[in-house]
């Protein structure tokens, strides 16, 4: 797979898996309004994933459509960052991802939305017209996600003692995984190396954390490598669920 396809696929898979995790919330949110909001974010991300996967399939030129890419790869071929595959609760690795922690979910949503906003903004000017078009459309969506999630981060960080403690604990869990937001190479004319986003992302994040009265953990040397297909142990469980129907009913039309 060439660098350009890989570049698009990393973003596509990141949106796909992020959406998949968020969709586990359906019907279980702390307030009804958040059931709607989380589903809405998951839907937008799914739409982005579909456009990007379709484009990656075209770039690859092997005739794979969005569903073949989404459902029929092996785990090692998924290129999403690990951050988005982590369970919705900071559970143990073999916990199956049953729990749902609104603190962790909200923080991750905010981190991802800020990052996607920065990335889609740059991708608007990609020489790959298809990618530029997807980015322009997506940018509007992630702006709303960023606003909505950031509001919640502040509300919960600067809420009660309990809510601040929960947010701080979630931040501590997610923190090392943020490193991967800046790990991918760029492709000339297609899109920037992700580390070009780092300064701006960290500045915005620091501002948000300050407003939310949360403390940044010390720097972590962890090097998550989901973008190279080295995932966490959560990924396999998630894929077993996600791929279940396609694997069990080969050749089906849905």
């Amino acid at each position: 797979m060439d660098a350009k396809t890989t570049y698009v696929l990393r973003l596509a898979d990141t949106c796909l898996i992020h959406s998949q995790r968020l969709s586990e919330w359906a019907g279980h949110a702390p307030v009804l309004e958040e059931d709607l909001a989380l589903a809405n974010i998951a839907l937008d991300l799914l739409g982005q994933a579909r456009a990007l996967l379709t484009h990656a399939g075209q770039l690859e030129g092997a005739g794979r459509d969005e569903d073949q890419l989404a459902f029929l790869r092996e785990e090692r071929d998924y290129r999403n960052i690990i951050l988005v595959e982590l369970p919705n609760a900071a559970a143990s690795p073999s916990d199956g991802g049953g729990g749902r922690d609104f603190a962790l979910t909200t923080l991750r949503n905010a981190a991802m939305a800020i990052w996607l906003e920065l990335l889609f903004d740059r991708l608007q000017t990609s020489l790959d017209n298809e990618l530029a078009g997807i980015a322009a459309k997506s940018l509007k969506e992630v702006r709303y996600h960023r606003q909505h999630s950031s509001d919640w981060v502040v509300r919960l960080g600067d809420g009660t003692d309990e809510s601040r403690a929960r947010m701080q604990a979630a931040l501590n869990v997610l923190w090392p995984y943020f490193n991967e937001l800046f790990a991918a190479d760029g492709v000339d004319g297609v899109g920037p190396a992700w580390d070009e986003l780092e300064d701006e992302w960290r500045a915005r994040w620091a501002t948000l954390m300050q407003e939310a009265t949360l403390t940044l953990p010390r720097e972590s040397a962890m090097q998550p490598r989901g973008i190279d297909g080295i995932h966490s142990e959560h990924m396999g469980h998630m894929l077993a669920t996600m791929q279940f129907l396609q694997r069990s009913y080969p050749g089906g039309t849905w």
Binding site: P30, L46, S163, T253
Partner: protein, 311 residues
């Protein structure tokens, strides 16, 4: 008494009642019970369908299902709002649901076991719901009627999507898929017929509700209408319904159909269906787990208010 007579006269004249209008206490209570029960059904209904979002077979179907579940949350939201116009808060209604005091549609106490269940719920369960709800768009209480107009429009959309997904499986799918659809129809058919409630002779609330224009058509009439509308759709799909007594009655210009298992109906209504306990447990868990979030939102809002005052 004069007010009551005036109210009855308005109802008889086909007038709509608004939130600010005077209304008899029993009318108000009946409406709150019915609207909140409907809202609860939307909320609980998110669970059996939500169960399949992470396993949807294609991204398109995943998007459709996710949007559908989101719509159900939305229906819950404006139905709660309609009920709130009658002076009962959403928290009170939620409390009644979580404690098991309030009812919701029994259909959601059955499990979704295969992907075909999602299509069949769209076709049969949403179909039955629409049949029940269309008359409510002319309900005498205007805020409820307005909510129902929007709900019905979206439900119709869901029903068509559900039917279309079944059609795809039946017409282009593998034998396994076709068997999966038939199995789902076999499991959901009778529970769908039960959605219209007890037989008219066993439905004591109906008369008063009919007179007040809260209910417009009887349970048995709706059930018959549903069967008559659905069987031709089943024929097109190429599935059968699990009722050996089903037969076209040319005289009545309607289908005859078999007896509902009322023992099962009452068992499920009474809390002993396959998923009653789990549905309530899931709602309670979501609510309990979310307490810290709601508390924090409140605390933050108070802090902001204090800051603004100080400024």
């Amino acid at each position: 008494l004069a007010r009551e007579e005036a109210f009855e006269a308005r109802i008889d004249a086909g007038d709509f009642i608004e939130a600010k209008d005077w209304m008899p206490e029993h009318y108000r209570k009946t409406l709150v019970r019915q609207i909140s029960q409907h809202a609860h059904s939307e909320i609980v209904g998110m669970l059996p369908e939500g169960n399949w979002i992470t396993r949807a077979p294609t991204l398109k179907r995943k998007a459709i299902l996710l949007a559908k579940v989101q719509d159900e949350g939305g229906h819950g939201l404006y139905l709660y709002a309609a009920a709130e116009t009658l002076g009962t808060s959403r928290d009170e209604m939620t409390e009644a649901l979580l404690s098991g005091k309030a009812k919701y549609s029994s259909i959601f106490n059955y499990p979704t076991l295969t992907w075909a269940d999602i299509g069949v719920i769209g076709w049969l369960v949403d179909g039955a719901a629409i049949m029940n709800q269309v008359p409510l768009c002319r309900c005498s209480y205007a805020p409820y009627a307005r909510a129902m107009i929007r709900v019905c429009r979206e439900e119709s959309f869901h029903q068509r999507q559900g039917y279309e997904s079944l059609l795809t499986m039946m017409q282009k799918g593998t034998d396994q898929q076709k068997a999966m659809v038939q199995d789902a129809v076999d499991r959901w058919w009778w529970p769908s017929l039960m959605m219209f409630g007890p037989a008219d002779k066993d439905s004591p609330n109906s008369e008063q509700s009919m007179r007040w224009g809260i209910k417009r058509v009887t349970n048995d009439q709706l059930r018959q209408k549903f069967v008559d509308a659905t069987i031709p759709q089943a024929d097109i799909l190429g599935v059968t319904v699990p009722d050996p007594a089903l037969k076209w009655n040319a005289e009545r210009d309607s289908y005859d159909f078999g007896d509902i298992d009322w023992a099962e109906f009452w068992r499920v209504v009474g809390g002993e269906g396959p998923c009653n306990r789990e549905r309530l447990a899931a709602r309670n868990k979501a609510w309990d787990d979310g307490a810290w979030v709601r508390d924090a939102a409140l605390a933050h809002a108070r802090k902001q208010a204090v800051k603004q005052e100080a400024a």
